[in-house]
Structures are given as C-alpha cells and as structure tokens.
Amino acid sequence: MSEKKKLTDSPVWITMISISFGLIFGAIILLIIGYNPLTAFTVILKGIFSKPKYISWTVIYATPIILTGLSVAFAFKTGLFNIGAEGQYIVGAITAALAGYFISLPPILHIPLVLILSIGAGAFWGSISGYLKAKYEVNEVISTIMLNWVALYLNNFIVLHDKVKREGSEATNKVLDSAQLIFANTWKTSEAGISWRKVHPFFGDILRTPANGGFLIAVGAAIVVLIILNKTTLGYSLKAVGINREAAEFGGINVPSNIVSAMAISGGLAGLAGAVQVLGFTREASALAASEGYGFEGITVALIGANNPIGCVLAGLLYGAMKYGGSKIQPAIGAPYEIISIIMGMIVLFISMPKLIKTLKLKKKEDK
C-alpha cells in the first residue's frame, strides 16, 4: 500500500490526471458546441498514428517545442522564468538561416558550426536578461518579454534586407544542402530514391515528409541538460541559487554569475530549437507578422513535463501530436482547431493546481 501511495503522490501521476482532465474538458466543450468527441478523438488518433508519415510529421512538430521546453524548464530549475524562449528561438533561427546560406563548408563541419553559432546567438540573447537581472535586478520576466519584440523586429529587419531576402519572397534564401539536417534530402527525389521508396513503402512514406535529425539532437540536448543539472558542480550551484538565493550566496556561490550562466544556457537551448527548425524543416527564416509561438509552447511543454528533461521530451511529443493530429479535426468534422489550445491550456491549469488533485484524493480516503 505504501508503494502505491508513493506513486499517486508523484508528479507523473498528477500529470497523467491533468492530461485526462484536459481531454475530458475538451470533450465537454466539443459536446457543447455540437460535435461528437469520440469522433473527434478518433480523427486525431488516426491522424497521428495511421500512417508512417503522420508519425514522422508528429515528431517534426514536436522537435522545436521539445527544445524550447527544455529551455524554459532549465530556467525554472534555476529559479528563473524565461518567457523569452520565443525571442531566443527567433535569433537562433535567423542565425542558422544566415550561417547556413552564406558560409559554405562540407556538411561534417557546416552543420556543427551552424548549430554552435545559433546556440551562441540564443545564449547571448538570454544572457542579456541574465546580466540585467544579476547587475541591475531587472526582473527577467519583463526583460525577456521585451527582448522577444526586439528579436522579432530584428529578424524582420534582417530578412527583408536586400542582400538577405530571396527574390520575390518574404524569406531568406534556402540554406545550402551542406547545412540541412533532412534525411536523404537530395537522394529521395532522385530516380534511385524514388524507385527505392516504391519498394519500401514504410520508409518511403516517412521520406515523403522532411524527416530529419532534429529529434535526435533534441533528445541529446535533454540528456545533456539532465547531466548538467544532476552531475556537475555548475548544475548544483545553479539549482542552489534557484532554490534559495540567499542561502546559496551564504554558501559561497557567486549568484550573479550563476544567473547569467543559467539564462545563457536556457537561451542557448531555445536558439538550438530555432536552428533545428531551420536546418531540418523550413530551411529558411521568414519575416514574421507576429510571434510564431514556439517559445510560448515551450512554457506549456516545460510545465507538463514537470521541468524534467525527459518529461519535456514526452510532453513535447504530446503537444506535437496534439498540434498535428488535432489540426485534422477541422477539415474532417468541421470542429474548430482551437479546441486543441483549450485542451492544452486546461492541462496546464490542472497541473498548476496539484493541491486540487490531492484534495480529491484525500476526500477518497475520508469516504473510506
């Protein structure tokens, strides 16, 4: 019995309950507005799993938000609320688009170089907020939100510059083949590739999508974050600052420099998200009329993943699946796509009230 009790107290349990509540809430809304929730969920599930290419799309959708989720989660672990993953993502993406087009190198060097530059750009963007907080006590929530706008307009300024813009478009030139992460990108449209794809329907179907190495990079990043947080001195001091700033300072930890490093690492992860999206999928950065929301979705992913790196990977996959599969209910049954945002929002709402779920559990004990 004691083991079971432990299980029901764990954050995993609360997350599972919250996800179920979110789905039930979504079902109720669907009922109210006159759609059959079972039909809707069938469409969503089929839309995610019924073909290999759907699974591939789900993973592609999940990849950037896993990384922005890691970014936000890392900042949370160190006591910071990084709302700026959006802006850090944008600078990472534009850096990748520029470095992927203007530098030419063999792939083995080009890809790592672009990734490092993007991580650097994101880290720089994040560390501005970190520095302002460490030096002048500027709340990072405010400074990161403001920097999101700076990043957005900086991106548009660069993209629309004559030397950068692709003729007749609102985007940069496509990154060179040596910088992209898409599996077999040139081979799969060649004659050999097309005939191979006919013989191997499973992989052939996957290759219809821009399946890419981004997901592996995201998982790798999650493992690196896990190691930094749990196995290194840096991680220990970062977490110590997060848990209790004064105590950490008293214990001899340099708090200001830790805040800057924490924001830099967090920003670097979001910058990596931008790079992976550009190199693995869009191959360009475009002028943005408004934020695309990858950073904000990262906040949801971090919350659902309970700020745990592995949790972020799973939560990112869940969100990616809901985003991709959920978008299919509109053409199929006419239900609005916004229902997915409602479901994700409700999940986060339930997760942020663990007490409610615990209270429900206590009631059960009393009932007995």
Partner: protein, 347 residues
Amino acid sequence: MKKLSILFTAMLALMVVSCNKPKEAAAPAEEPKQVEKTVSVTMVTDVGGVNDQSFNQSAWEGLQKAKADFGIDVSYKESKQNADYAPNMEIALDSDNDLIWGIGFMMADAIMEAAQNNPDQKYAIIDNAYENTPENVVGVVFEAEQCSYLVGYIAGRMTQTGKVGFIGGIEFFLIQEFEYGFKAGVKQAGADIEVLSQYAESFSDAAKGKSIANSMYQQGADIIFHAAGGVGNGLIEAAKEQGKWAIGVDRDQSSLAPENVLTSAMKRVDNGIYNLSKDLADGKFPGGKTVSYGLAENGVGIAPTSSKHVPADILAEVEKLEEMIIDGAFVVPNTAETVEAYTPVEL
C-alpha cells in the same frame, strides 16, 4: 476518488450517448474513391486564419457561395505558423479533394512543391504568379492598382487640405501596387496634392497603425488609405476619434466606422475563388496559367457604400474612369516609374 470516478463515468456515458452517428468517424484519408462523386474543393489559409476580416475570410465566403450555388463540397484548413503550410498541403491531399487552394502568396513555395510531387492533383493559389506555372496549378492575381487608383481619385477630389495619406503593411510588390495605384489616382485628381506614405512593417499591429495615422492627420492629411490588414483597424479608430476620413481595403470596411470610412478598395478574393471553382465544376480548369482579375472581371472595385459620403458628381467621374480602364484607354501605373511618368487623362 469516488466523486472522481462518478465524474469520469458520467463523461463517458455522455460521450457514448452522443455517439449515435458512428459512421461519420471514418477517416477521410482512407475512404475509397467513389465514382462520380461531387466536386470537392478545400482551401488552406495562411497564418491570418479564416476570421481575419480580410482575404482569408473573403476566400472562405467565396467557397461557401460556390457551395450554395452549385453544390460542391467545401472545407478549409487553417495555418497557425509558417511551418504549417507544407503539412497542411499534405493533409489537404490526403482528404481527397479535386482542387486545393492556397490563400496568399506566402504559400507559393508550399503549393509549388506539392504540385510537383503530385502532378495529378489540381492546385490554385491567390496572389501569386509563378514564372513557370505547372500544368496542375493556376495562379490567381488581382489588379489591386485599379481599385486603389479609383479610391485615390476620390481622395484627391475630396481632400480639403491638399494632403492625403497611405499606410502600407509590409513593403513588397503586392502592397506597393496599392500604393502606386493610389498615387496615380491622386495625381489624376490634382498634380499638386501631396501623398504621405508609410509602411508599418506589420499586418497585425493596430496600435502602430493608429500612431502612424495620428501623425499623418497631424501633418495635415485629411484622408488616409490603407493596405495593411489589421494595422488598418488602428487607422479607422484614429479617423473616428479625430473625425477624419479613412479608406478601407479588401472588403467593404464601412461597417467598422460608418461615419468615417469614405469608401473601400475592394479586392474580391471571394469572386476569384468562386469563378475558378465554377470553372473546375464545369471542367474548364485553366491549368498552367495565371488568371488576372481586374475591374473588367469584377475582381476589384470600390465599395457599394461609397455613395453615402462621396458626392454623385465625383462618383460619376469615377465610373467614367472605370469604363476607360476596362476599355483599355489607359493602363493604371503600378510601379514608382510609371506613376512618375503618368499624365492625367482627359475626362
């Protein structure tokens, strides 16, 4: 937990009860192709979404009208991010449609790629002309300079201060056509009328639209035209507060401020969609071409509510200009050079 489980059971029961039409659950992707089924047309919106008060909404209205008039199946798929275009094309393809629309030039690459990968599927795109249009694609463009010219003429004739304004969204050829058409129209009304022109670098930032509009009104402009999507809502708000004139775009925007919207330069995306969908249903799909809709095809025009504020004599002149454009008496300028070279025509 008891309460919880009661809740759960209740929900499940509700869902099962409501599930009285299980046949609808079939995924459209796997449905076998029926012989002689009704024509189905779907559209993929750009990131503006289907309720953008502008061309996506207009496009959907066009499809709905087509559905009502000749019974085709219609559906739409919204894009939330630029990265959604390619997968949305794929989803539209899987749901077995006769024609897939991409609404807006932002989808040009996605449509081109999808069309090359799926030569048997028909595609059409709004606001984009490809250099080499594949056989299964139709580009639909609108001669926006023509309606902009007409509202420019109205603005030029009605200004009291000798100054009018233009607010653009993001500066590129599609929006510049509005600007140059407008400038040419103003020039037609009077060579010494000044046009203040500014781009907001956004299609959604209404606050910025308002501040640009306020500064233009302060500089002495009394009529401002916009081609800036949501930014224009800020202009119309400023016009309302200051009691000045605004000119709407894309749809008849008079309803947003009936006393302050002088007229609107309408780009009839709905007509474009409607006409081409009709061609498709009649088996006359003009694949491999770019179709251009201007005044003659009722693809652009000024709002029907214009007569409310614009005096009848000016409207009569506008009508005359309209006829001359349709007859080809002169070509409305759509670049900086041609506006410079434009000499007003004899009315």
